[in-house]
Symmetry: C2
Subunit: 154 residues, 2 copies
């Protein structure tokens, strides 16, 4: 396994973030197997692990757990060239306007709403961003506003 | 695999929720292996997968991903006798005041702040709850406010 340092070598710093510019971060298509496997381990509600229970649910079909949906956004981000030297997730708000379905491609978009140098942690800044994950039909499946700590350029 | 229906047979309904009463939902202790395995798949930042990178981070040691932390709260809930016939997670806010460390037992507490019958979905109610996950030293590692849809008693 990597020691973790290499992974971040291409990551950006606080100074590289341009507020107000929406960026396409990347894509991921969760398979049926992935949705069921994740939910079986972490959120085994019937409509996340069983096709028929999904059809009979308010979701109207098998759908991914909200934990999985959030994790997918993290996975896409981690594989992106737009990723930053993040240091900590401080807090977030999430909504899930539409269900995540098996074999539907999801695209993650991010826009920095504001940024500020951290008063309490020299060498770090706080990024406030809005992240949207959208399916191929143009429906938002996750809308997240988050605040996270990012390293300033050394 | 269960068809998912059995899992919910002991779950409560909207009418069973008592606002204002904090309940201990359950406990989970994430191992070092679990923290590294989850982060390697979904959030491979150095401080989530490498001990030394953790020590050199603002977290001061290896810590669980926020995706993993949220998933742990879901896992504890799913194994609890306090679980409900939930139908959908509508939205949530989370903060992570302290890091989740390997081999530290986490306890999940939940209190319903308010509940209301759904106007748009007959047969369902909306629960607004505050969920707190605390480590053995009494530090909150996750504070979540969420709104979710729950079935009314048939």
């Amino acid at each position: 396994m990597s020691n973790g340092t290499d992974v971040q070598n291409t990551a950006g710093y606080y100074e590289d973030v341009l507020p107000g510019v929406e960026v396409e971060i990347g894509r991921h298509t969760p398979s049926r197997e992935e949705i069921i496997r994740f939910a079986t381990e972490w959120d085994p509600q019937p409509f996340h692990i069983d096709e028929e229970a999904g059809r009979n649910s308010v979701m109207g079909g098998l759908s991914a757990s909200s934990c999985h949906t959030y994790s997918i956004s993290s996975l896409i981000y981690s594989q992106s060239e737009a990723k930053l030297h993040t240091a900590a997730m401080l807090g977030l708000q999430m909504k899930f306007p539409a269900p995540v379905r098996p074999d539907e491609e999801l695209t993650l978009f991010e826009i920095c709403d504001r940024k500020r140098v951290s008063a309490s942690r020299p060498g770090f800044g706080v990024i406030s961003s809005r992240t949207t994950m959208r399916n191929a039909r143009g429906e938002d499946v996750m809308v997240m506003e988050s605040n996270f700590l990012v390293r300033c350029r050394p």
